[in-house]
């Protein structure tokens, strides 16, 4: 029996030895995963999330980088310059404004609940959040920089270098670590505490009469596209909005090459929509009322116009009262805590 115990011990020792020879010794570092409070009624997270789950120091690094203007070639524009927290991480301009006042192709999308999205950008060109940050960094009308230029600047900043160490275990600054930490920060930006959420959760809050009627109209006339708790079904649709004549614009078709996707855009979430005016892929509409009036009066016809419109005379008929109530309901999707944090 004693010999048997010894044998067990010996095998254990062997295992230990083999482990230490197979793997280079890694110095353990303290960087716990962040526990996100994900509402039960939200959709599944994007698979990429699991490979880059937010950690305490990954998120704090990502947040720091998100507000860092050195990401632009002339140090004037950070991610947060266009993705302004008090606007649900969008802004109030028709189209994005980059370095030297250059005007971008599209309206700035809000950054919220991205962990649950399957596509990024209005045309869904990116499927993983970690692949997104390079686009604004190099785009002429946005930051007009390059990843080596950014890395070069960050390396000079000992505070940032220290944050990379804490987040990733050593002080090497790599493109992936930059993208991954930005994505980790963005994954934590979850908006789920609006009046609507409190009503749904029975938190002792209820809709006003107007909001309740708006919610009813919403369910009849809007919820087929603005579905799920994200208020988007994440599909691409051409809904006949006035067309951006910029030769670079084709909507989803510029990604798929499929003319059925021409001038189709991802259905936008309506969460925090109150804070993200103007509306449309290049800010065609100043107010929510303008959007609803346009739907009511009739949209542009095209071969690939969405069936919702085609089968209803190219419009969504809405009375003045319905519009008023819909706007009241949409404002219940405002998450004042989210835009303050």
């Amino acid at each position: 029996m004693k010999a048997f115990k010894f044998l067990i011990g010996y095998i254990g020792f062997l295992l230990l030895v083999s482990c230490s020879t197979d793997n280079p010794v890694t110095i353990p570092f303290e960087n716990p995963e962040v526990i996100l409070s994900i509402p039960e009624n939200f959709p599944e997270v994007n698979n990429a999330f699991y490979a880059n789950a937010p950690t305490q120091y990954g998120v704090s690094l990502g947040k720091k980088l998100f507000f860092d203007k050195r990401f632009s070639t002339d140090n004037t524009i950070s991610c947060a310059s266009c993705h302004i927290p008090s606007n649900a991480f969008a802004d109030n301009k028709p189209q994005a404004i980059g370095v030297e006042g250059r005007i971008g192709l599209r309206n700035v999308p809000p950054i919220q609940n991205l962990a649950f999205m399957r596509f990024y950008n209005w045309d869904g060109s990116k499927l993983e959040l970690e692949n997104q940050p390079l686009v604004p960094i190099i785009t002429h009308e946005e930051m007009d920089s390059s990843i080596l230029e950014v890395m070069g600047k960050l390396k000079e900043d000992s505070e940032i270098v220290e944050m990379f160490s804490k987040a990733f275990g050593d002080d090497e600054i790599t493109p992936y670590r930059i993208y991954a930490s930005l994505a980790q920060y963005e994954y934590t930006l979850i908006s789920s505490n609006s009046v609507y959420d409190q009503v749904i959760r029975n938190d002792g809050v209820s809709f006003t009469e107007s909001e309740a009627q708006g919610y009813e109209t919403f369910q009849q006339k809007c919820a087929s596209c603005h579905s799920t708790e994200l208020f988007t079904d994440q599909s691409y649709r051409n809904i006949g909005f006035p067309i951006n004549t910029d030769s670079n614009e084709a909507g989803r078709a510029r990604v798929t090459g499929n003319m059925e996707d021409y001038m189709s855009f991802r259905v936008p979430s309506l969460r925090n929509v109150e804070f993200t005016a103007p509306y449309g892929s290049f800010g065609q509409f100043a107010t929510l009322k303008d959007v609803l009036d346009y739907f009511d009066e009739g949209v542009l016809f095209s071969e690939n116009l969405d069936d919702t419109f085609k089968s209803n005379g190219n419009r969504i008929a809405l009375s003045d009262a319905e519009k008023e109530n819909l706007i009241a309901f949409m404002k219940t999707l405002s998450d004042s805590k989210f835009v303050q944090d």
Binding site: S125, V135, L148, T174, E249, A250, R254, T256, G257, Y262
Partner: protein
């Protein structure tokens, strides 16, 4: 014992000397120059702005006149094939040393020298128009030289929104009133397009070109020049598609994947029935 060692050393040395002297008369490797001749039919293209009187004017099979102000394209994944079928890849996974941007306004870019090609007889060349998806990531850290070459202000071969390279960029004018044509191609593919397990979305604009050499290129004591003709008449009047330029396809949406494939298939072949596209071998000089 010591003697034996000395003999062995001498023997080894002699063998080494012998093997060296064997190949003394021909070098083990030499350069091969790829020379790109860009034409409309048999006429070398001269670029020019809208009102240029010197620019080469071309007429499509549908009778549409057009000329170019700017033409650039990316060549990568170059392989030379020996008469016995052996394929000699040339830095195919290294864009810095195995890919180039041919720019018609930059004469030095029309010649691309492949260094240290093993001596032998070659009867075929393969290359890609564009960049294979796995390398098409604007990876500045891995390939800083090619990134810089493609990104220069007068080159503009970065496709920022797709985080890839532009594969071709053609600017010019069409019809007698010189309307603008602007044709850019590049990939938007995620995953491998023929592999359902990885493919998710997008268009692969990379095209494989295979050209037989009319006479063998003999690499060794000579450093051959292979002249590759790119006949841009094929842009509108290609083997795959006959294209009439108009409001819907000459500029709007053409920087996008939407109408792009028609042009891609004409320039680089459709990958099945046509693996030469606009390219052919003009000559081989040994």
């Amino acid at each position: 014992m010591k003697n034996f060692k000395n003999i062995l050393l001498l023997f080894t040395f002699s063998i080494a000397m012998l093997s060296c002297s064997d190949s003394d008369d021909a070098p083990v490797a030499n350069d091969v120059t790829l020379k790109f001749l860009n034409t409309f039919g048999d006429e070398t293209i001269v670029l020019g702005d809208a009102t240029s009187s010197t620019a080469t004017e071309n007429t499509s099979s549908e009778g549409q006149v057009h000329h170019f102000a700017e033409v650039k394209y990316v060549i990568s994944n170059i392989r030379l094939i020996q008469v016995d079928g052996t394929e000699i890849p040339y830095n195919i996974n290294d864009l810095d040393n195995g890919a180039t941007v041919v720019n018609l306004s930059n004469p030095s870019s029309l010649n691309y020298v492949l260094n240290t090609i093993p001596s032998g007889e070659y009867n075929q060349i393969k290359f890609g128009l564009g960049v294979r998806s796995n390398l098409n990531t604007l990876d500045q850290v891995s390939f800083p030289s090619f990134y810089a070459l493609a990104g220069e202000n007068d080159t503009e071969m970065h496709w920022e929104w797709g985080t890839g390279y532009r594969f071709t960029k053609i600017e010019g004018f069409y019809d007698t009133d010189d309307k603008t044509l602007s044709i850019h191609t590049g990939s938007t593919v995620e995953g491998t397009i023929d592999d359902e397990s990885t493919y998710t979305q997008g268009v692969d604009a990379y095209r494989e070109i295979a050209l037989d050499l009319p006479t063998n290129a003999t690499v060794g004591s000579s450093a051959p020049t292979i002249t590759i003709k790119a006949d841009f008449d094929m842009l509108l009047s290609g083997a795959t598609n006959t294209i009439i330029l108009g409001e819907g396809n000459a500029t709007p949406s053409i920087h996008t994947a939407a109408n792009m494939v028609l042009f891609v298939d004409n320039l680089g072949g459709n990958g099945t029935s046509d693996t030469t596209g606009m390219f052919s071998i003009e000559s081989v000089e040994n």
